[in-house]
């Protein structure tokens, strides 16, 4: 409980620099701020600070801009003051679906994950294994036809897939995925017109951050899926997939 509170509170900085792109998360933080005077004060402080940071990148505007703004001003009616006590919604945030994570961002994420993995694992044997795996991961990432897709899962968290049909392989990373129910696992699938094959299990982690998991056997026309299955996995999916992504060529 205490942890969760702290977690929300730590968003003051991200909120002040407008770096919370998840509308639900931002609203949750705003609700918290209404109850937490200290947070509201801190947000105000940090927003002021961010505002001053704009002066660090100040730059003379293009020459014609002043005239065109001033002339637009003389033609533009101003808004009346708000007399109602209800605050207008200050921001109409862009609420469309999450953009596809770009290939390069995914590359950076997975690349750094690889480096971290290597730096964390001490023994030589494991290091060799990781190196082989890194090479396999790098092969998928650097394939000319690799695609990256990030999807938000309705039960929470996000899954990023990077796949290459040419390499018949896929890399999966997850973020913030809730732990599967006790005795269950997340299982990956290649769902093809001819057959549905297991593409392995997602290792769980307390932070919901898993991967990169490398799965081979991806074929043209496959749909990539994730289901929740009994521990150890099953031969065929038995539940409704929480994610389905068509592997475009």
């Amino acid at each position: 409980m205490k942890l969760a509170r702290y977690d929300v509170h730590a968003l003051t900085g991200a909120y002040a620099v407008n770096a919370i792109d998840d509308e639900f998360e931002r609203e949750k933080f705003e609700r918290h701020m209404h109850r937490c005077q200290q947070c509201a004060g801190e947000v105000r402080d940090l927003t002021e600070t961010a505002g001053r940071m704009a002066f660090g990148v100040s730059r003379p505007p293009p020459p014609g801009m002043r005239d065109s703004v001033l002339s637009a001003v003389s033609r533009t009616r101003q808004l009346p003051p708000v007399v109602d006590h209800r605050k207008p919604r200050a921001r109409h945030w862009w609420t469309g679906k999450l953009p596809m994570l770009s290939y390069s961002l995914a590359t950076a994420t997975v690349g750094v994950a690889i480096v971290l993995l290597i730096s964390l694992i001490g023994t030589r044997h494991e290091l060799d294994q990781v190196r082989a795996r890194s090479a396999a991961l790098a092969a998928v990432l650097s394939a000319g036809d690799s695609h990256a897709v990030t999807q938000t899962i309705s039960s929470g968290g996000r899954v990023t897939l990077v796949y290459s049909l040419r390499k018949h392989a896929m890399i999966v990373t997850t973020h913030g995925l809730p732990a599967p129910p006790p005795g269950k696992v997340y299982q990956l699938w290649f769902i093809g017109p001819p057959t549905t094959r297991s593409a392995g299990l997602l290792p769980g982690s307390p932070a919901g951050r898993a991967g990169p998991v490398l799965s081979s056997g991806l074929a043209r026309g496959d749909t990539i899926g994730i289901t929740i299955e009994p521990a150890g996995g099953t031969r065929k999916p038995t539940t409704t997939p929480i994610l389905l992504v068509v592997a475009h060529g």
């Binding site: 977690d7 620099v17 792109d21 002021e48 505002g51 704009a54 002066f55 990148v57 730059r59 994570l101």
Partner: protein, 193 residues
């Protein structure tokens, strides 16, 4: 409460002057607006340019923002913050809206492929001023991860999730770095409310 005129980025007392100017703008005073323009168009344009990058688009967004300052001046509430911050918040939000929109997807890939380095851009910025020096010096005083996180989030317009992805850190780490870094910036620049 905050002592008048201690905000960095502006000469002593100037930010409260701006609050008063904005109150005049709210009453339709075009001369007051021209004065606001002269004081804030540089940082507004510079910030947008940093986030959006494309000069033509940056100018478009900057014009929208400045017109919005005119249009919505009556909504500025000095009890909630300074006029400078009110204007910069609009500028940052509009710039970020522009780069986060689907239409900018292609450009966005470009931006992500080459995350900006703050030092370069600060150095390349044409307007060398005391304020700029101060921000820069304060940025230099941060830890590397704090500086990178804040730079990507504020000057780069990335969400903290994206920053976490770019830096290969956890969300919790990035949240903390942004907050700690801003607190340090606040103390260094002497912003208080």
């Amino acid at each position: 409460m905050r002592p008048a005129g201690t905000g960095p980025g502006l000469p002593e007392g100037k930010d409260r002057d701006l609050d008063r100017l904005l109150a005049r703008v709210a009453r339709g005073d075009e001369k007051a607006f021209a004065s606001v323009y002269d004081q804030l168009a540089g940082p507004v344009y510079g910030l947008i340019r940093r986030v959006v990058r494309n000069p033509a688009q940056s100018e478009e967004v900057a014009q929208e923002v400045l017109l919005e300052v005119w249009r919505a001046a009556s909504r500025f509430d000095p009890s909630k913050g300074t006029a400078v911050t009110w204007v910069m918040t609009i500028a940052h939000r509009r710039a970020v809206d522009r780069v986060r929109s689907a239409a900018a997807a292609a450009e966005r890939e470009q931006r992500i492929a080459q995350p900006p380095a703050v030092g370069d851009d600060v150095a390349e910025a044409v307007e060398a001023s005391l304020e700029q020096e101060r921000v820069r010096r304060c940025l230099d005083g941060l830890t590397e991860l704090q500086r990178e996180s804040i730079t990507l989030a504020y000057y780069g317009g990335y969400s903290y999730r994206e920053v976490a992805g770019l830096l290969g850190s956890t969300l919790g780490t990035i949240k903390t770095r942004i907050r700690d870094g801003l607190i340090r910036m606040r103390d260094c620049m002497g912003v208080s409310w």
